[in-house]
């Protein structure tokens, strides 16, 4: 089983990678990743029941019965000599041989795994050797534990649960940001550089922003409104600007300000671009499903205030604000 040791921040971030989101939680990918991350010594059973070659099979049967296990490693002079499983005992029972010694019936052809190997190695060895349990040895080839498929399953489940807790801790920490840091006016600023024509990454910044807001404890409805507004603004930078621009999010306890700044080409007639359905998108962009002429209309619908300033051949600045009702403050009083 996984020992309850404290991990360093570096281990958490470097080894386990990113924390999982609710959506990821049931994806197989994470389990695969964990199979390569988790070491055998983290999931194996360390409390060992062993037998010696001189013991009688009936004595071992008693050990198996009392401890509800289906096999034991056999140790001779401190060295691992073999494994005796319930199948070996059944074989002996067939011949009415239960008073025989363990040495007579144990499996000597030993398949072992190393404690420092990953659990993927153990899974492969299980598949190849068709045994139900494997002795685990350390660097000096000394028996240090046993591993079964059940240990692996338990280990993975525990690790997944831990990931989930880590995300909760992150969320908790972030949501107290505004409470813990005292100033006359605290603002959290997030900046994203958006490249022109980069459709492949369209919506990435918006997704990050939505996640950040949820972590900060924003109401899901507010996070969703910000997500939609900022997506349209992000796509505008990708579709319409000459060289891309900067997307900025400023979070304060009472309001969220989103803005985009670019250096061209600028909008000749702002009244016109605010008309639903008006679009200057090229046919190529329209084929991708953009250019409905609804971007700014959507933004206006989602935010409490929207301002555009633009100068042709200089650039455009778009500012969007959402006010947070007092009861939705991230640093809200819970009682």
């Amino acid at each position: 089983m996984c020992p309850n040791r404290v991990r360093t921040e570096q281990e958490i971030n470097g080894r386990r990678g990113r924390p999982i989101t609710d959506q990821d939680a049931h994806e197989i990918n994470r389990v695969e990743e964990l199979s390569y991350d988790l070491k055998i010594h983290e999931v194996m059973t360390k409390k060992l029941h062993t037998a010696s070659p001189e013991m009688s099979l009936s004595d071992v049967l008693e050990i198996l019965r009392i401890n509800r296990i289906s096999g034991v490693p056999v140790v001779e002079d401190g060295q691992l000599a073999g494994v005796l499983s319930i199948e070996d005992i059944v074989r002996a029972m067939g011949k009415n041989d239960l008073m025989e010694t363990v040495g007579q019936y144990m499996t000597r052809r030993l398949v072992t795994v190393a404690s420092y190997d990953t659990i993927v190695k153990a899974m492969r060895t299980f598949a190849e050797s068709r045994v139900g349990r494997l002795p685990v040895v350390n660097e000096e080839n000394k028996l240090v534990g046993m591993i079964t498929k059940g240990d692996i399953t338990r280990g993975i489940l525990l690790a997944l649960q831990k990931d989930y807790k880590e995300e909760e801790v992150r969320r908790y920490r972030a949501s107290h940001l505004f409470e813990d840091i005292i100033s006359d006016r605290t603002t959290l600023v997030l900046r994203y550089n958006i490249k022109a024509q980069n459709f492949t990454h369209g919506g990435t910044a918006s997704s990050h922003i939505k996640r950040a807001l949820l972590r900060l404890g924003a109401d899901p409805q507010i996070a969703r409104r910000c997500g939609i507004a900022v997506y349209e603004a992000e796509m505008n930078l990708i579709i319409h600007t000459t060289r891309g621009g900067i997307l900025k999010l400023e979070v304060e306890p009472h309001r969220i300000t989103m803005s985009t700044t670019d250096d061209g080409p600028g909008i000749p007639d702002i009244e016109q671009v605010l008309q639903p359905g008006y679009s200057t998108a090229t046919d190529q962009v329209r084929e991708l499903g953009f250019g409905a002429g609804m971007g700014l209309v959507n933004i206006k619908r989602c935010v409490d205030s929207m301002d555009i300033e633009s100068t042709v051949s200089k650039g455009t600045k778009l500012i969007m604000r959402i006010h947070i009702p007092t009861e939705n403050l991230s640093g809200r009083k819970e009682e």
């Binding site: 990821d24 994806e27 459709f199 369209g202 918006s206 997500g227 499903g289 953009f290 209309v297």
Partner: protein, 113 residues
């Protein structure tokens, strides 16, 4: 009505990783190939019917928390789109039927929002 029933009745292909579709209960549907219209019209847990199949549908579906995207007329998203959808937890389904027919069948099944 759950997503599994919809997938079976409409004989949809599941393009993304399989998951427990019986636990997904779509609340309504929205059909458009214009992303901004979808942004405006589709709500959380809606089914989105479209013949768009490029990468950007994933971002839209993820931001809106769409229950599933049904891609029509055999339009097939590329590998990167499917990978991105799996990463973001977005379900992509496909069919040879056009938008109109899919809408009709969903309506018949009782999806009226």
């Amino acid at each position: 009505m759950d997503l599994q029933q919809i997938i079976e009745r409409l004989e949809l292909n599941v393009l993304t990783d399989s998951r427990d579709f019986t636990s997904v209960h779509p609340r309504g549907g929205y059909t458009s190939d214009l992303l901004s219209c979808v942004m405006a019209g589709a709500k959380s847990k809606y089914i989105w019917v479209t013949l768009q199949s490029h990468l950007n549908i994933v971002a839209v579906a993820a931001l809106l928390d769409i229950a599933a995207v049904i891609i029509t007329e055999n339009a097939h998203p590329d590998h990167a789109t499917i990978a991105k959808a799996n990463e973001q937890g977005v379900t992509l389904l496909s069919t040879s039927m056009p938008n109109f027919e899919v809408d009709g069948k969903l309506w018949e099944m009782g999806l009226h929002n």
